[in-house]
Amino acid sequence: MSFFSVKGLSKHFGGLVANNSIDLDVEKGEIRGVIGPNGAGKTTFFNVVSGFYTPTSGTVEFKGKVISGLHSSKIAKLGAVRTFQRAALFPEFTVLENVIIARHLNADTSLLNAIFRHNTKAEAGNLARSKEIIEFLGLKDEQDNLALNLSHGHQRVLGVAMALATEPELLMLDEPVAGMNSSEKAVMVGLIKKIRDTWGITVLLVEHDMKTVMSLCDKITVLDFGEKLAEGLPEEIINNDKVIEAYLGADDIVA
């Protein structure tokens, strides 16, 4: 039994087959990349495994438990959390407050607590842990700024910080370096490695940027026309004829 496994996953939108019978197994501690040309079904795949869509058929299992069809919030509770392609954050809260809000699963959220007690020991723990995560991701200088005032790169890192605040075992990143400049990309790649190496969190990421995927991932799955085209180590994928064909030329891949 693998840590995270997708079995025969299909997703249809009316007559459109966005994902067709995809199988995928991720081992604990792995960084797995899912790539593919535009329209290959990456985003649909990501939305299905993270609980935002219900699959048409097939299952997604996490730690031996079927999670497909569950609410995203329930999946997060089980320890698999996703981030967004866009800069998803709570703009009118500070960076620290954003991360504290994301500690929801580790907090007492009863109404009685809301009315009578605010500064509990648990909340002190949440504050300390939030600061730790912020420092770990290098956002300490931005801690008290409103999230809406951050640069795009920092906003995306904040997204990861909020995901980490839920104490996940599996981190699912939706195009983590989309829209970033090269130095921001390098920072994000470094952070993802650090998250896996230091905290042992398994990472599954969907990405467009080849260079990032090749330098970051232990293993890569390639999707094309909603189906799995290839799977293997980065060097195997680079030299795979079918993949090269799908991307219309080898130059694009290593660029």
Binding site: S73, A76, V81, R82, T83, F84, F90, T109, N113, M162
Partner: protein, 329 residues
């Protein structure tokens, strides 16, 4: 969300305002005092409605929930002779129950659909009151609701609530308590979760906040306070009928919160206060009054969409701009 307005600065005006309200019965006529009592009830209603809007769910049936509390109190007190200390909490619980039933389908809708569905469900309830003579009394409603009483004539602790001053203070206590609890909820983790849902509900789902459950919860909490307000209204007025809860009353509620603003806790308080004042001052206008209020609503939406609560920061940044300083958050 900034912490600049910290405790001592805020609490002094609050204490002064409560002091003024305690002093009011000494200086105003009995008629004005009854208006003030209604005003306090409206404060509870407006502040609970503001809570509802923190998730972005502007319901059109909040007034109806107040009616549920009022009808429940009226029927319990009149037909079953339930004393106020049981009737009020029971009415609040019944309102929460009705809120829950309404929230289950409503939480499956968002935005415009939510708006319309809440209106439809509210009207449905109002028509139930109109059509069913037992127990709601049809178009004539429930009349002759007994005044609440503590003890009986002759007891040393007897308080006569036919005296409007006594009922005024009774309402004042409930208003202060309700505002305090709503303030605490607003500042709590749950309150922040609701504001987060307004900001980005997908993100909330991803970090483990069950958006549907929280939207149902806020509906019930807001319903609870609307129920309390309705209960107080039933005792104050002594009779209720479906015409008390027509759409136009909901429009007034919306005007209060739009004029005051909903972003800060204080906005609706400012709104309900200033608009109640205008309402009383405009009494000579009689049937032209709705026109005036429509105009005010339009003017605010065009020129001050954030409401009166944004007035102070605007003036502040204007003067800071004059002396060439940037505002510090």
């Amino acid at each position: 969300m900034s912490k600049s307005n910290s405790s001592s600065f805020i609490w002094l005006p609050v204490v002064i305002v409560i002091g003024l309200f305690c002093f009011a019965p000494q200086v105003v006529s009995a008629y004005r005092l009854e208006l003030l009592t209604i005003f306090l009830i409206n404060v509870i209603l407006a502040q609970s409605y503001r809570l509802m809007t923190t998730t972005g769910d502007w319901t059109l049936c909040h007034y109806i929930l107040m009616g549920v509390g009022a009808y429940a109190t009226g029927i319990l007190a009149k037909k079953f002779g339930v004393p106020f200390y049981a009737a009020m909490p029971l009415a609040a619980v019944i309102t929460v129950g009705v809120s829950l039933i309404l929230a289950l389908p409503l939480s499956r809708t968002i935005g415009f659909a939510f708006f319309i569905a809440s209106f439809a469900l509210g009207e449905f309830i109002r028509h139930v009151w109109l059509k069913f003579h037992t127990p709601f009394g049809g178009a004539r409603g429930v009349n002759g609701i007994p005044k609440l009483e503590i003890g009986q004539q002759g007891d040393w602790y007897f308080i006569d609530f036919w005296d409007s001053t006594n009922f005024y203070f009774f309402t004042l206590i409930f208003t202060v308590l309700a505002l305090l609890v709503l303030y605490r909820i607003d500042r709590s983790r749950v309150g922040n979760a609701w504001k987060s849902i307004y900001a980005d509900s997908e993100l909330c789902e991803s970090i483990g906040i069950n958006v549907t459950r929280y939207r149902v919860l806020i509906f019930c909490v807001a319903g609870f306070f609307a129920g309390i307000a309705g209960s107080l209204l039933a005792y104050q007025v002594g009779s209720i009928d479906p015409h008390n809860f027509e759409m136009v009353e909901m429009v007034y509620l919306i005007i209060w919160v739009v004029v005051g603003g909903v972003k800060t806790y204080w906005g609706p308080l400012i709104g309900v206060f200033s608009m109640s004042l205008v309402f009383e001052l405009a009494r000579p206008l009689q049937e032209w009054r709705p026109l005036l209020f429509g105009l005010i609503l339009i003017l605010f939406l065009v020129f001050m969409p954030g409401g009166l609560e944004t007035l102070l920061p605007r003036i502040k940044s204007f003067f800071l701009g004059l002396v060439g300083k940037k505002e510090v958050r």
